[in-house]
Symmetry: C2
Subunit: 360 residues, 2 copies
Amino acid sequence: MKQAFHWFCRKCGFREDFGRSYYWKCPKCGSPLVISTGRRYEVSKGRGLARYKSVLPVTPLKYMGEGETPLVKVSEEGVEVWFKLEYLNPSGSFKDRGTSLSLSYARKLGYTTVVDDSSGNTAISISLYSRALGLKPVLFIPRTAPEGKKKILRFLGAELHESESRGAASVDVVEYSRSHPEAYYVAHTWSYFYVIGAATIAFEVFDEAGVPDYVIAPVGSGGLLLGLAHGFKTLLEQGLTTKMPRIIGVQGYSVQPVNVALKGVETPGEESWLADGIMVPNPPRLAEIVDAIRESQGDVHLVGNTEVREAWLKLVDQGFLVEPTSAAAYAALERLKTRLQGKSVLVPLTGSGLKIIPLM
Amino acid sequence: MKQAFHWFCRKCGFREDFGRSYYWKCPKCGSPLVISTGRRYEVSKGRGLARYKSVLPVTPLKYMGEGETPLVKVSEEGVEVWFKLEYLNPSGSFKDRGTSLSLSYARKLGYTTVVDDSSGNTAISISLYSRALGLKPVLFIPRTAPEGKKKILRFLGAELHESESRGAASVDVVEYSRSHPEAYYVAHTWSYFYVIGAATIAFEVFDEAGVPDYVIAPVGSGGLLLGLAHGFKTLLEQGLTTKMPRIIGVQGYSVQPVNVALKGVETPGEESWLADGIMVPNPPRLAEIVDAIRESQGDVHLVGNTEVREAWLKLVDQGFLVEPTSAAAYAALERLKTRLQGKSVLVPLTGSGLKIIPLM
């Protein structure tokens, strides 16, 4: 019994069959949309994300090596840590999962250009996948973005537009997409494709090792945390497991919207710009993130530069060549170790250090 | 029936049980050694190289995500190309396979320091794995090595010694290892660990897709080509297949010792410094490389900068974010396409572009 996927708005109830149109947000009320399904989870033959095509709204048009990342289990002071090496995806971050789905949909619908506002891992991911799928990548980035990232993006053939600030970039990109009907606005902080992409991490972990007791994930726009929640919840709801992990979100003290939403008050602490990849002040899916954490009886933890740096070097010491943002979750684990004795804890390592270390 | 591994010298016949001593070259005649075995190939449970532990002289002490890289099959103008994404190994190159074996052996034998002469992918691989295995990495590099690579090596905690040239580095490193009995000289251009490491690529390809008709591999010191030959030959000799791929080695016009050895004369052509990773003027295993190519009824092809650059950009266009050296083999394939109609061709993509593109 194959039910169709559909676009759905949690806020106003907008609902439409999936597959003919694209919305980066609800056309009725402007809220983030989800893509829901009643399809049965099963593992298909093939490689990468296609193994989970039964529950994916789009099958990747091309397999480029994304997914099926290594899972490394390490026993650390009484905690069983499951590191998922997401930085070994093709462009060096877990974003490739969502990008693969999102851009395959763009191609399917006949768009010829892809546009987004990002200067980080998502921008690199989008540029790489655009080329491979025959789409033209256009990126709005803040003028202040690091030169090394601009070099990678230019090398990948992206058309770069430099906006005054991160905020200005997010306005300029919408303007651009309005006047360019051939352009598909990825809107990665809004897009449910990135949530579903991250859900495949949960599926892979489940297939290989089962359900962990805890998940500790860095939270910027929340796609990773929501994806892991979505993935494990799918397995739970379909009766493939009776266990749901507790989900711990990790933010930096400098930008902590999830913490404020969950606890009602800002928690003071050291600045945290080292974990720049999670500095998202207004994540569009904030309400969903809070719900996912609460529902799993999870929590949010905050970290600062000192802890992030220590955790980062400790990860590299173990052979994990990641970027500092990847270490935020591991820094939080460090603090929680006494509480997590005997537990299994999934820690996704999100982005490659190779993009930044040569420039340091 | 488990037969022991042993060190063996093809030239003078030196032979010794493996496991108690380490030799980077034959202690009797100074030739490169091989490590041979009579053990039966089988696929074990586990992840990474440990899956092939029955035919490995050393099992990696730690799994850090190396191996099991994606295999992407693409049909290109009548040729079935099997890309093996070796640049998605933990330090960004296939060298991690050999490093994992070599350094595990160093640890097993009680060495505390690891020393090598390299400024490229091997140096980064050795530095990363040394940290993770609790060994101190010491590297002799030419003074002229690119600053970006030095930065990565320093970040990884390597002790760097700058020699006057590549040649001087290879002299200085031997000097150093003589006066430091605690130091294990990796000698990656001599080491059979790197050959056996690369053989696991062949095993993975065989398990997933069978034996290809052709293998096209870049040849510097030859570890990759010899490893692929060793791997497929092991499968053939043990009766697991009746097919052996033809092996095509690829070098640049600027440095072409294999071509000269095979054809007796230098072939003139465009300079090829873009493929810097394969510019090895005197590969210690030259005779073995020539034998492996001849025995498989293979060949050697030469490429120049223009072809390498074109092939490189074409690879990136397909979503493979590699370094130019990785493109040498693909450049050769481009030329051979009419001859390879209907054939399956394995092309390992060796190193990540992320190490150099941010610096370009």
